[in-house]
């Protein structure tokens, strides 16, 4: 079967930070839970963006051709959109599962420092709001925000993402026979570039180490 894409430009493009940022953005969009913050990538992207912003200022000062300026401006706009979208998406995920995230050391460790502060603030603010408007008016023993009552044996009132939701994904290279469940009844052969719809929970690990992309 002939390949429709140019192999060389595809592999060259795959190593730019914009490509990596795009991949991080897509994974984050498709994953039900919050993924690990890619701090080095975000730093590099910001540096490049800042450099380009300064370059563009120089260009306009030095009367560089309008056309060239427009093109670099579009490149900048595209990179900025990706970066903003990525960060915003994560904030919105934190908003959605703030209590669940704040309670979990593992999940908190996936956040940047600023995101951790945001998660903690959000949770305090939400808890205060619920306390003030609902919980303080309920009888003793029923006033916890995370548990229905004192007789709950676990936190049964915390919204959590559904990790067993189905996601669309593709692997870049052959993964081969992969076990989807705990018992070994569900095995799937993951071939490079083929598109699969699988339970997120089963492939979580592959997403984390970059072997599979969510699309």
């Amino acid at each position: 079967m002939s390949s429709w894409d140019d192999e060389d430009t595809a592999s060259a493009a795959a190593t730019t930070d914009v490509e990596l940022l795009k991949r991080a953005w897509r994974n984050e969009k498709a994953a039900p839970e919050i993924l690990r913050f890619d701090s080095p990538l975000v730093s590099r992207a910001r540096e490049q963006i800042q450099l380009l912003e300064e370059t563009l200022e120089d260009f306009t000062d030095n009367g560089v051709d309008d056309l060239v300026v427009s093109l670099y401006q579009m490149d900048l706009d595209r990179a900025l959109f990706l970066l903003r979208s990525y960060l915003r998406l994560r904030l919105q995920k934190i908003e959605k599962y703030m209590i669940h995230i704040s309670k979990s050391d593992d999940l908190m460790s996936r956040l940047s420092l600023q995101e951790q502060r945001f998660a903690k603030s959000c949770t305090e603010i939400m808890e205060k709001h619920l306390e003030q408007s609902v919980l303080s008016k309920l009888p003793y023993g029923y006033d916890s925000v995370t548990r229905q009552s004192l007789s709950s044996t676990e936190d049964d009132m915390v919204p959590e993402p559904q990790l067993d939701t189905f996601v669309f994904c593709k692997t870049k290279s052959d993964v081969g026979a992969f076990q989807l469940d705990d018992i070994g009844e569900e095995i799937v052969d993951l071939v490079a570039d083929d598109l699969y719809v699988l339970r997120y929970k089963s492939i979580k690990g592959l997403v984390e180490n970059g072997r599979i992309d969510l699309i």
Partner: protein, 197 residues
């Protein structure tokens, strides 16, 4: 019927357009809270009755036990509905910050419970805090960027117009390649339209 008023709150949430809010229903809300406290009073008195009869609360299964169980479960259900009501509304309020900015329009403010107004303010501040720590505004750029220039067709004779450092002649039916930001004012006045080849 226990739990019916609480269901009303949930039905209200459901009937609303996603991303919108209806007026906070203080009446029903307060009634549900009152019901919770009534259930608790009943629960307590049934338990006390069993204790007074020297019955082991943990193991006895008589009508008072089951009565108490019903009150407990009804209370729990009411609590879940109250929290669901507040929490879902809070999620919509969060989305307002992203869609509408840090100041809510009057029509929306009217629909909020006072605690919700405070919630919006505090939550907005948390977002603002993150934005300033990161030094990057996340409330702009909500849709992918397009070419800053667009092709336009002039609909009426406008004449000579100066744009930045040069001027152009906007005669009726002429086509121009302009910055979107420059064209917007004419487009919104119906003097120009965007033209796709």
């Amino acid at each position: 019927m226990y739990g019916r008023r609480a269901s009303q709150l949930l039905k209200e949430l459901d009937s609303c357009e996603p991303g919108q809010l209806v007026v906070f229903n203080s009446d029903v809300f307060d009634q549900v809270v009152r019901e919770c406290n009534e259930h608790n009073a009943q629960f307590q008195s049934l338990i006390r009755k069993m204790v007074d009869q020297n019955l082991d609360i943990e193991t006895t299964r008589n009508e008072d036990h089951y009565g108490a169980a019903i009150h407990h479960l009804s209370l729990l259900r009411n609590k879940r509905c109250l929290i669901a009501y507040m929490y879902n509304r809070a999620e919509t309020i969060q989305s307002f910050r992203w869609k509408l900015g840090p100041v809510l329009p009057h029509e929306i403010q009217e629909k909020l419970h006072f605690s919700e107004k405070e919630y919006f303010k505090n939550h907005s501040a948390a977002i603002k805090s993150y934005i300033s720590e990161m030094d990057i505004d996340l409330t702009v750029d909500m849709v992918p960027p397009k070419d800053p220039y667009i092709q336009v067709r002039v609909l009426e004779d406008i004449g000579e117009v100066s744009l930045g450092d040069h001027s152009i002649s906007l005669t009726k039916n002429s086509l121009h390649f302009l910055r979107r930001t420059d064209a917007e004012q004419f487009i919104s006045q119906g003097l120009m339209e965007e033209f796709l080849e």
